[in-house]
C-alpha cells in the first residue's frame, strides 16, 4: 500500500520576466493516512504553493504528485474537480463561505456537487454541523456568526464530504489566540478520530500541535520529522531578516 500523498521532485516555477521564481524547488514529500502534519516556513517559502498542489487547485510545473496512488498532476480541470470533491476538504484562512447562502447550504455544497440526493445531503450537512457544535446556527447567514464560528462552519463543510485529507492553510490566521486554539484542538480531535490533517502555518507554537513538521525554505524541504524534535522549531536565521514569532 502506497502513501496517501506523495510528491516526487515537484517543482513550481513562476516566470517573472527574466527571472524564474522557484516557489517549489524539487520537493519530495510523503504523507500517510492518519497523519497530522504541519507544513511550516517563512513567508514566501512555498507553503501555500505546496498546499494548492496537494489540494489539486494547482498543478506542478514539473514532477509528479500522487494522491491515493494516482497521478493527479496531469489531470484536467474537471477531473481535478472530482478529486477535490471526493478526497479533499479545505479550511481557508479567510473561511471562504458564500455570503448569500446560509450555514447549512454552505456545508451542503460539496455534497451538492457530489450529486448526493437532497435528504441525505441535509442529514449529512446537519451532522457535520453537530460535530462542530453549530447545529443551532444552520439557518444563519455567515455574516451573522463570529469569526471562530465561521471557521467552524468551514470545518464542517470540509468534513461533510468525508474527505481523505483535510487541508488547512493558516486556519487560525484571522482568529484571536483563544478561538484559534479551539479550532486547533478541533483539528487535533479530528486527527485522533482517524482523519489525515495537513496544517499550514508560519507559527511554531501552532506547528507543535502536529505530530510531524515539514519545514520549507525557498521552495526546498529543510526539515521533515518529529514535531517535538528541538530541530523542528529552529528557524534558520537569514541575514537581514528577523523572524516573526507568533504573528
Amino acid at each position: 500500500m502506497g502513501h496517501l500523498i506523495e510528491f516526487r521532485q515537484v517543482y513550481k516555477i513562476y516566470q517573472m520576466g527574466d527571472t524564474a521564481v522557484h516557489a517549489l524547488d524539487g520537493v519530495d514529500i510523503t504523507i500517510d493516512k492518519g497523519e497530522f502534519v504541519a507544513i511550516v516556513g517563512q513567508s514566501g517559502s512555498g507553503k501555500s504553493t505546496a498546499m494548492n498542489i496537494i489540494g489539486c487547485l494547482d498543478v506542478p510545473t514539473r514532477g509528479q504528485y500522487f494522491l491515493g496512488g494516482t497521478d493527479v498532476s496531469t489531470m484536467d480541470d474537471d477531473q481535478q474537480a472530482v478529486i477535490r470533491n471526493k478526497m479533499l476538504g479545505f479550511i481557508f484562512q479567510q473561511y471562504n463561505l458564500i455570503p448569500k447562502l446560509n450555514v447549512l447550504e454552505n456545508v451542503e455544497l460539496p455534497l451538492l456537487y457530489a450529486g448526493v440526493p437532497e435528504r441525505e445531503r441535509r442529514e449529512r450537512a446537519r451532522s457535520a454541523l453537530e460535530r462542530v457544535g453549530l447545529a443551532d446556527k444552520s439557518k444563519n447567514l455567515p455574516s451573522q456568526l463570529s469569526g471562530g464560528q465561521q471557521q467552524r462552519v468551514s470545518i464542517a463543510r470540509a468534513l461533510a464530504g468525508s474527505p481523505s485529507v483535510i487541508l488547512a492553510d493558516e486556519p487560525t490566521g484571522a482568529l484571536d489566540s483563544r478561538t484559534g486554539r479551539e479550532v486547533l484542538h478541533f483539528l487535533k480531535q479530528l486527527n485522533r478520530e482517524g482523519d489525515t490533517v495537513v496544517l499550514i502555518t508560519h507559527d511554531n507554537s501552532i506547528a507543535v500541535m502536529a505530530d510531524r513538521i515539514i519545514r520549507l525554505q525557498d521552495g526546498k524541504v529543510i526539515y521533515d520529522g518529529d514535531a517535538h524534535d528541538p530541530r523542528a522549531v529552529v528557524q534558520p536565521h537569514l541575514p537581514g531578516e528577523d523572524e516573526e514569532v507568533g504573528a
Binding site: N52, G55, L57, D58, D77, D78, A81, V82, R84, N85, K86, F90, F92, N96, L97, I98, K100, L109, P110, L112, Y113, A114, E118, R157, G161
Partner: protein, 398 residues
C-alpha cells in the same frame, strides 16, 4: 448541481439587487410587450377583416363587365347557364345593376337613397341577407318586370315610420310597391347597406338605360374560389375574345391577399420589436459579465469544493435565463394591458365596432419562450467565462 438549486440561487441574487435586475430586464420587458401588442392588434385586425368579408359573403365572386363598345355583351342567360353547367364550383348568380340619378319619392317626401340596386331573386341568399318584414323579390317579379321593391331598414324607418311594406314608392316616375324590409346590417345609418332600395334587375335596366354590367356569383367553396374564377373568366373571354373587357374578383382571394399583406406587415413589426429583445439580451450579457467578475471568489470557492465547469456554467446560464424569463413575464403582463387598452380605443372608432385585441395563447407562449431563449443565449458567454476560471486565481481574487 440541480436545476432547482440554481433557480433558487438565481432568484436570490435577483432579489438582492432589485433595481439592477429591473434595469437588466428592461430591454426584454419592452421587447416582449411590443411583440404581444403587435400580435394582439394584428390578430384582432385580421379577425375583424375576416368577419367583414364573411358578412359580405365569403364565397362571393364579383364580375364587372365594361364590354368592348361593340354589340357584343354578356346576357344574363349566359351567366345562369354557367352556374347550371358548373354546379361543383358555382352555386348562384345575380345580375347587379346600379341605378343613379333617378328621383325617388315616398308618399310624403322626395329623398336620395344610398343606392338603388337591380338584382335577381337569388341576390338575398348570395349576400346572406335576411328580411325583417315582408318578402324578397321573386322570379315572377323579375320575369314580368313587376313594380315591386325591397328597402333597407334605414329607408323603412326614416321615410315610412317603420311601416314600409305595402306602401308606395315612386322611382324614376314609376310607382313601386314595397314588398319587404331588409334586416338591419349597419345600425341603420345613412349611406350604408341599410339605406338602399332593391328592385328587379329587369326594371333597373330600363331605369338606368343600360345593359347588365356586373354580376354577383356564389362560389361553392372558399378553397376552390380560384377554379370558380377561372371558369367565369374562360366564358367571358370566349364572349369577348379578349380578357381586357371584364374583371373577376373573389372574396376568398381578396381576403387571402389582405391576410398576406397583414402577415407581412406583422412580421416586419415583430422584427423591429425583436431589436429590443436583442438589446435586452446584450444588457443581460453585460450584467452577467459584471456578475461573474463580482463573484469570482464565489466561483473559486465552488470549484475548490468540487464544482465542475458545467456546474458553474449551468448556474450562470440558469441565472441569465431566470432574469430574462421574469422580464418576459413582466413584459407579457404589460403587453396584455397595453393591447387591451389599444383594443378598447380602436373599437371606439367608426367602422371598427367589432374590433378586439385578441392575444393568442400561442403568441404568449412564443414571447415567453423567446425571452428565456434570449437569456440563455446571451448568458452563455459570461457563464462560459466563469466556468473556465482557474480555481486558484479565482480564490485569490479580491
Amino acid at each position: 448541481m440541480g436545476i432547482k438549486q440554481s433557480f433558487l440561487l438565481a432568484l436570490k441574487s435577483l432579489a438582492v439587487s432589485k433595481v439592477r435586475a429591473l434595469l437588466t430586464m428592461l430591454g426584454i420587458i419592452i421587447g416582449v410587450a411590443a411583440v404581444i401588442v403587435i400580435i394582439s392588434l394584428g390578430d384582432g385586425m385580421q379577425k375583424m377583416m375576416n368577419d367583414q368579408f364573411e358578412s359580405l359573403g365569403a364565397n362571393l365572386i364579383q364580375v364587372s363587365v365594361w364590354g368592348s363598345g361593340s354589340s357584343r355583351s354578356v346576357a344574363p342567360e349566359d351567366m345562369y347557364k354557367l352556374v347550371a353547367d358548373n354546379p361543383d364550383y358555382l352555386r348562384a348568380v345575380s345580375p347587379y345593376v346600379q341605378v343613379s340619378g333617378v328621383s325617388v319619392r315616398s308618399t310624403r317626401e322626395a329623398f336620395t337613397p344610398g343606392s338603388i340596386l337591380g338584382v335577381s331573386e337569388d341576390y338575398d341568399s348570395i349576400r346572406g341577407m335576411t328580411l325583417s318584414q315582408g318578402r324578397f323579390l321573386q322570379y315572377v317579379d323579375v320575369l314580368r318586370q313587376q313594380k315591386v321593391c325591397v328597402v333597407g331598414s334605414y329607408v323603412n324607418k326614416e321615410y315610412f315610420d317603420g311601416q314600409a311594406v305595402g306602401q308606395q314608392l315612386s322611382i324614376g316616375g314609376y310607382t313601386y310597391i314595397v314588398v319587404g324590409v331588409l334586416s338591419e346590417s349597419a345600425e341603420s345609418r345613412k349611406g350604408t347597406d341599410d339605406d338602399q332600395i332593391v328592385l328587379p334587375y329587369t326594371n333597373a335596366m330600363s331605369l338606368a338605360g343600360s345593359r347588365v354590367s356586373a354580376y354577383m356569383f356564389t362560389g361553392a367553396d372558399k378553397d376552390t374560389a380560384s377554379v370558380s374564377r377561372t371558369i367565369i373568366e374562360k366564358r367571358l373571354e370566349k364572349i369577348f375574345g379578349d380578357d381586357d373587357y371584364f374583371m373577376v374578383i373573389t372574396s376568398a382571394e381578396m381576403l387571402d391577399i389582405m391576410n398576406t399583406m397583414m402577415n407581412t406587415m406583422m412580421v416586419v413589426l415583430v422584427a423591429i420589436a425583436a431589436i429590443s429583445l436583442l438589446v435586452g439580451g446584450i444588457g443581460i450579457m453585460n450584467i452577467m459579465l459584471v456578475s461573474v467578475s463580482e463573484r469570482t471568489r464565489e466561483i473559486g470557492i465552488r470549484k475548490s469544493l468540487g464544482a465542475k465547469r458545467r456546474d458553474i456554467r449551468s448556474q450562470f446560464i440558469i441565472e441569465a435565463g431566470t432574469t430574462s424569463a421574469i422580464g418576459g413575464v413582466i413584459g407579457i403582463g404589460f403587453g396584455l394591458l397595453a393591447a387591451n387598452v389599444a383594443g378598447t380605443l380602436i373599437s371606439g372608432l367608426d367602422g371598427a365596432e367589432g374590433f378586439a385585441a385578441v392575444p393568442s395563447l400561442g403568441a404568449i407562449a412564443l414571447a415567453f419562450g423567446v425571452s428565456v431563449g434570449v437569456g440563455v443565449l446571451f448568458g452563455y458567454l459570461p457563464a462560459n467565462k466563469a466556468a473556465k476560471l482557474n480555481p486558484i486565481d479565482a480564490l485569490r481574487y479580491d
